[in-house]
């Protein structure tokens, strides 16, 4: 199944840490958000394969915006 990993807070996508096709483990940082003057990671909730990255570095995203889609 596809698990959508969303930004859990409003902020800027500072760095994207993965590429499409990457295998990730639970807890891996998929992207780093800049918010509240901190670098806050978006972490993989489950192990899986990165199948889509619908944001780009520098995007300002609202809470709940999909950042990465994982096939688990």
């Amino acid at each position: 199944m596809i698990v959508q990993v969303s930004a859990d807070l409003t902020g800027t996508v500072w760095k994207i840490m993965v590429n499409i096709g990457d295998q990730v483990a639970e807890g891996d940082a998929l992207a780093i958000m800049e918010s509240m003057k901190m670098e806050i990671p978006v972490m993989a909730p489950e192990a899986g394969e990165v199948v889509e990255i619908p944001v780009q570095e520098g995007d300002v995203v609202q809470e709940g915006t999909p950042v990465v889609r994982l096939k688990v």
Binding site: L9, T10, K37, E39, I40, E63
Partner: protein, 534 residues
């Protein structure tokens, strides 16, 4: 007496008694109870990767400690002469047993009999179990695996009834104030079964095989036109990773049963006892060198709070509750020199550790658990403040945050605070010296205030900054000026923080504190009552 004992007495023993026939029937009835829903039902249960209720009870309890109550309940058929042909057991099993040598009461649903449906239930049995736990003042464990009510009941009873179970329903809220209650969701739990899951201090659900919902897909579809499968409706992703309806998820039934045992090890049997202490081989003087550098000097960089906690508390003693919900706050049970403590901490990796609506609800519930069972609280603070923004406002975050703050202020258990980094605003104010015996410690990395300096400068010097030839340079200059006041040493000079400590000394200081805490806990034993908060 164990299941095996009752089963074996009848075999091979030649009785010389006038009651031989009755005793034989008793043993026959016991064997019928142990057969549950029959070999086919048991096999189906095993094929689904699930244990039978009797196997679950055996795994939950200490070896051979189960004493079943009400084993003979069921639907019997008799031949024309009135002789017993068969008993289909009731699909609830209840009894007493021991977890780590301490007595508990357990009730479990037997899914091999009509899918645990209430058609073949005698509800008096689980009401009796609840009452027994209350009367004996021992924990209650619920093994929930029941599909809920059935329309066929109407035909059986030839009437409908007003929902509810009389006297015992009134007892249930009392139960939660008296003894620990643990629920394990082990299959689809709808309606009343869902109530049993949530009417607990700690709940855990088995991944993929357990679901929890007020009503299952077959009721949802005709009711509101939503077509959804049971996992999407009430699986672990919904409830153990979002709604907060269930605290923890488990990889397997064995894992779930192990978590239930683990939770109970930290708690007293009832509110009249202090939490139990266990032998500890970890030195109270252990100083973990990593603590000296676990918080980055660069305030933009988060760090792993769980690593800090693992370095401070007794080795391998931490048991996390509700990891995936309200996740900016971490709640755990753990040990210091063998003493049970509750651990609350912020996780800067999740929403910066902010007080979100979810975290506030989690804190309120956790603090109530600690206060009810007299668990001293150790609080590692890195609190940037109440969650902000439109979504946070729509969630009613500020009200929930104040409610959490009031819950913290109402505790009567010893409380210890370790300020690790930030403590700001309304949420930061919640971690004051409310509980007894609270000596607050701060690490040198700690800083605090009513308002963060960068934002504060922006607000107070708006015109000044705007009219400067180089606004950014002016802003930086002001931030640098105000930042000098943030040193925790300046607060300590004024006794605004009791002690600033070397992080490596944290364990030793907390182990000293926990002894003092347990000296005063007996003064406050018994049930707790609180005001309505808001």
């Amino acid at each position: 007496m164990s299941d095996n004992d009752t089963g074996s007495v009848s075999q091979g023993s030649q009785l010389n008694s006038e009651w031989e026939a009755e005793l034989a029937e008793l043993h026959q009835r016991n064997r019928m109870a142990e057969a549950m829903g029959g070999s086919e039902g048991i096999e189906r249960q095993h094929q689904l990767g699930r244990l039978t209720v009797r196997e679950r009870i055996a795994q939950l309890l200490d070896h051979d400690s189960f004493h079943e109550v009400g084993k003979l309940t069921g639907k019997a058929t008799y031949d024309e002469a009135g002789h017993l042909v068969e008993v289909v057991p009731t699909n609830i099993i209840i009894g007493k047993g021991r977890v780590d040598h301490r007595k508990v009461v357990v009730h479990g649903d037997d899914f091999t009999i009509r899918g645990g449906s209430s058609e073949s239930t005698i509800s008096d049995k689980w009401l009796f179990a609840e009452r027994l736990a209350c009367d004996l003042s021992v924990p209650l464990v619920r093994l929930v695996d029941a599909s809920g009510g059935s329309i066929r009941l109407l035909e059986m009873n030839q009437a409908t009834k007003i929902p509810g179970y009389g006297y015992a329903q009134g007892r249930r809220p009392d139960l939660l104030g008296m003894v620990p209650v643990v629920s394990i969701a082990m299959g689809p739990c709808a309606g009343l079964a869902a109530v049993q899951v949530v009417a607990s201090h700690f709940s855990v659900m088995v991944k993929e095989t357990a679901q929890v919902f007020a009503a299952g897909p077959h009721v949802v579809a005709p009711g509101i036109g939503e077509h959804i499968d049971k996992e999407d409706l009430g699986g672990f992703r919904v409830h153990a990773r979002g709604s907060g309806v269930v605290d923890n998820e488990a990889e397997s039934e064995s894992d779930a049963l192990k978590q239930a045992r683990r939770f109970l090890q930290f708690l007293p049997s009832n509110v009249y006892q202090s939490p139990p202490r266990r032998p500890c081989s970890d030195s109270v003087d252990r100083r973990d060198e990593r603590l000296a550098s676990s918080v980055p000097h660069d305030r933009r960089k988060p760090y792993r709070m769980r690593d800090i906690l693992a370095a401070v508390f007794d080795q391998d003693s931490l048991f996390e509750i509700g990891r995936y919900q309200g996740a900016s706050t971490i709640t755990m049970l753990g040990r210091l020199n063998g003493y049970s403590v509750a651990v609350m901490a912020n996780d800067p990796l999740v929403r910066g550790g902010a007080m979100t609506a979810g975290a506030a609800e989690k804190i309120t519930r956790f603090v109530d658990l600690c206060d009810t069972f007299h668990l001293p609280v150790v609080n590692f603070v890195d609190q940037p403040g109440v969650d902000i923004g439109k979504v946070a406002e729509e969630r009613g975050t500020i009200r929930k945050a104040v409610r959490a703050a009031y819950a913290i202020s109402q505790v009567r258990v010893p409380w210890s605070t370790v300020f690790v980094r930030r403590s700001f605003g309304v949420a930061g104010a919640a971690y004051g010296p409310f509980g007894p015996a609270n000596i607050r410690y701060a690490w040198p990395s700690a800083y605090w205030g009513s308002i963060p300096i960068a934002g504060g400068v922006e607000a107070a010097y708006r015109r000044d900054i705007a009219s400067a030839p180089d606004p950014k340079a002016r802003r930086d200059e002001l931030v640098a000026y105000y930042s000098r006041f943030e040193s925790p040493f300046r607060t300590a000079e004024r006794f605004g923080i009791e002690e600033v400590i070397d992080p490596r000394d944290t364990r030793g200081l907390l182990c000293e504190w926990v002894e003092e805490a347990y000296d005063i806990i007996p003064q406050n034993l018994g049930p707790r009552c609180r005001t309505m908060r808001m």
